[in-house]
């Protein structure tokens, strides 16, 4: 019996990890390609949630959750074109400062548009409740999130591994000067990657809007966990981030099962242990710019 409940926590942790993955993977991608630690990533997550709430009023939740990531991703184009682009070859501290400032501006803007009080939205009735298989219980809604995350993960992996787009991006990560010498402009690729990352963060926000408080500071809230995931996985590593996100979800679930008080601390302890053994994270590569 005890074992089954533990297993239930593990599966639930995997689902939660999948959700963290949506936010952390985008953060990691933007870092890999542009060398930019995007502290404004959480702001796009918050925007995704707010836009989703707004659109739900007009078109219902189903349409809103599809449209809002695209709407926010199009903002991502402007973000890349007018802000990030200036900082690819600059001192990383500058992009840190700029994106940090932008995160604060975005939070304030949200406060001005939607007010400081949270806005509320809910899951459609048919997605509510849980599915019970044998002794295991799954939230119907979270299973849907897991399925979408799995599809996106597969999509992004195929995009990076199997397409010419992905080959250029990967080459750009390794040897940007060589790619440039071959006459390929990396900038459109960078725009696409930023759009992808920002869109995934916004999708995360849209998915969580019905089951969490939608308030202006929610972006800052999610950034902590996203950073923990990226640091554990290793900056710039695709599979590192995937493994780390799932690991964080599972470790938290197990910790809460046995020792609830250590629930939140457990992920930081995990990060500490991983960094102790592997200072670059689980699958992190040596990155010249930062070492």
């Amino acid at each position: 019996m005890q074992f089954e409940f533990l297993l239930e926590q593990v599966v639930n942790g995997l689902v939660l990890g999948g959700y963290y993955l949506l936010i952390a993977l985008g953060l990691s991608l933007i870092f890999s390609v542009g060398g930019i630690v995007n502290l404004a990533h959480g702001a796009f997550y918050a925007l995704g949630a707010y836009v989703c709430v707004e659109l739900t009023k007009q078109f219902g939740f189903g349409a809103a959750v599809v449209i809002s990531p695209f709407a926010v991703a199009s903002l991502g184009i402007l973000f890349e074109r007018f802000i990030l682009r200036r900082f690819y070859s600059a001192d990383p501290i500058l992009s840190l400062l700029v994106t940090f400032g932008l995160a604060m501006v975005a939070e304030q803007a949200i406060r001005m548009i939607w007010g400081a009080a949270p806005v509320s939205t809910e899951i459609p009735q048919r997605l509510r409740g849980s599915i019970i298989v044998g002794d295991f219980l799954f939230s119907r809604y979270r299973l849907l999130i897991l399925a979408v995350v799995a599809a996106i993960l597969l999509g992004v992996w195929l995009l990076l591994q199997k397409t010419s787009f992905g080959r250029v991006v990967r080459a750009g990560i390794q040897r940007p000067d060589m790619v440039a010498a071959l006459g390929i402009r990396l900038q459109p690729y960078m725009t696409a990657i930023v759009m992808l990352g920002v869109g995934m963060a916004a999708l995360g926000g849209a998915f969580f809007a019905p089951i969490t408080t939608v308030h202006p500071a929610m972006g800052a809230e999610i950034m902590t966990i996203a950073f923990v995931v990226v640091v554990i996985g290793g900056l710039g590593s695709f599979w590192g981030v995937v493994i780390a996100a799932l690991l964080v979800g599972v470790v938290r679930g197990i910790a809460i099962h046995f020792e609830p008080a250590a629930g939140e601390a457990s992920i930081y302890i995990l990060m500490f242990l991983v960094l102790l053994v592997r200072p670059r994270g689980l699958l992190g590569e040596r990155i010249e710019k930062f070492e």
């Binding site: 926590q9 009080a117 969490t212 500071a217 809460i256 629930g263």
Partner: protein, 414 residues
Amino acid sequence: MIRYPRRTVLRAGAALVGASALGFPAIVRAQSEKIRIGHLTPLTGFLGVIGGYAQLGVKLAVEEVNQSGGVLGKQIDLISEDSINPATAATKAQRMLEQDGAALLLGEISSASSLTIMQVAERNKKVFFSTGARSDALRGKNCNRYSFHCDIPNTVMVNAVGTALSQKGMVKGKKFFTLTADYIFGHDLLKAAKVFFGTHDANLIGDELIATDVTDFSPYLLKVRQAKPDVVCCNLAGNQVTNLVKQYAEFGFPYPLVGFNLNTGDAWAAGAGNLSGTWPTVWYHTLDNPTSKAFVAAFTKKYGKPPENHAWIDYITLKLLAEAINTTKSTDSHELIAYFEKQSQFDIGKARKAYFRNWDHQLVQEAYPFTVKPKDQMKDQWDMLVLGDAVPAPGDPLETIYPTRQQNPCEMKA
């Protein structure tokens, strides 16, 4: 256009900055014509949303007092800041009293921060009106002469909801599972809940202490299901309540969810389709009496939305203070303490008048249990709650729902 040499401009600028840092005596004198009052409330973190309402409420009160001539013929100069956390709250409280020349302090929602401000107030011998903190311990073993407590304490919230649940046959012999915020407020609320369960033959079969930064409750919900309780009881605070309520609706458990703490702001944020069960409240904007209605009208006109209970309590407290200063003709803390300890009765926008108990400085007042309106009966997004009958019942003295002198270990030093 005259061109100034850059150096001159720079020097002038430096002189200006220097002068403003030193401060001109004339400016200082001009400011002392006003009466300064310090207000602290969390604007960030899990209590930030309801703190925002508290700030709007106190600002409205100051505006109204100033428009009607101020206090002692002077305008009130309100400094209202984000208390952030207990350590910052204490630092800011100290600065407001020692450097900014605040005559007194009010505000706060977090019981942990309120406790640190209480200590600063006592050290500085200035009064502090703790408007929104609910921990019993603040007016119990941690009480001091300089601190007054305006919100209902945890024991009253437990009694308000507990009485309503008892009437529905949801207490006696039932198995309860509680989810509790892991800080002074939550511990305190759980203690009050345990006393209630003990005296009403209910069993507490499980309790989870939850850190205040938790936003995902799914692992805890799995544990709730494992325990198979009759009733799940939420002892959380701030937007954690909202998160739990939303995720509880997501999982769709058959066990009813009730709670011993809720602020209307958190109820609105949860949304009508998610919230159910019975909860306590200290005030609601549909209360039908002239003071409440006038406040709701003024607040709604100014801010375009109805006030939340923390907006009301900070508003009413500032009004009480202004009245006290005008009556005693003094901003001296000892005069004010003496005034409030006379147990004068105040209209606070409820059917019965309230008063500060002289031995523990608790504002004794009515409380209400509420349930949630079906979504199709709501007039607007704020029309969510159905208030139950005020507790205590009209014939009973107000103090029957408060801890007695035997139960409340408050001993004030002279």
